[in-house]
Subunit: 156 residues, 2 copies
């Protein structure tokens, strides 16, 4: 995989489209049976009687689908070093089989690391929407990226 994006390519204010993802019933059920078999994720009748009104994806499945969108739209071509965590994760609307998810990532803040001169930090916000334009998921998080230009070490 060719690296195209380094820390310098994620300046504050950048907005990127992260593509789209089709949510299938099979995938919703498979994820739920493996990780989150609550009745509103596995059983149509129970889901219809729930607050969600119908069988819907586990919130963690929605996060995983958002991750796949990030990977395919920029992360697999970026010098990504992982993430320390996430803030303000909100499941705002249920995600149903048949939905198509899309959205954006917005860079909120970018800074270098004093302790690791070859690494930069990027704080981003993600906004995931369904085909009706409704936001289903928002979250913010820090990512670590290698810097394209590593500053020369200061003289001792």
């Amino acid at each position: 995989m060719t690296i195209r994006y380094y820390w310098e390519d994620f300046p504050a204010g950048l907005v990127r489209d992260i593509g789209s993802f089709a949510v299938t019933r099979e995938a919703v059920l498979a994820f739920a049976h493996e990780f989150d078999p609550q009745p509103f994720h596995t059983d149509d009748e129970a889901a219809q009687a729930s607050l969600f009104g119908g069988l819907c994806a586990s919130g963690w499945h929605t996060c995983a689908m958002a991750m796949r969108l990030m990977c395919d739209s920029y992360l697999l071509e970026a010098a990504s070093l992982g993430s320390p965590g996430i803030e303000n994760l909100r499941w705002l609307k249920p995600v149903f089989p048949g939905d198509t998810l899309g959205g954006t990532m917005t860079v909120l803040e970018a800074r270098t690391m004093a302790s690791k001169p070859h690494v930069g930090l990027v704080r981003s916000a993600w906004d995931l929407r369904n085909q009706h334009g409704e936001t289903v998921l928002t979250m913010e998080g820090w990512g670590m990226f290698r810097r394209r230009e590593v500053p020369a070490a200061a003289p001792a």
Copy 2:
């Protein structure tokens, strides 16, 4: 599934063990290929050269495994109505194939909802540790549960 736990069964201060989960190489690779195919989750050589030092689970996979632990230890027997979101999600240590994860949930706060008298909110903290006693994941979140005893409506 018999409901044993209602909102009243999650008072502030409650600490519950959430059992344990064995992390397999097959599961780490399967989740990564489906949702997070960054090289440190899919390729041994790339992972050894990364900050993680070896092939490790996607952070979202760790969240999903934590969810499974919650489901099996109390949530599938609880009158759970879903969650609006998560705060302070931290991936503190990489999770490697062969690890065994376990941990606790601690109730931080419990309150009723004025707008929905039959529903109560519970704010919990989860602490997921590996077999070395190292915390790999922490997070906090609100859950909604039905109340066992629904208060009578106030006279009009």
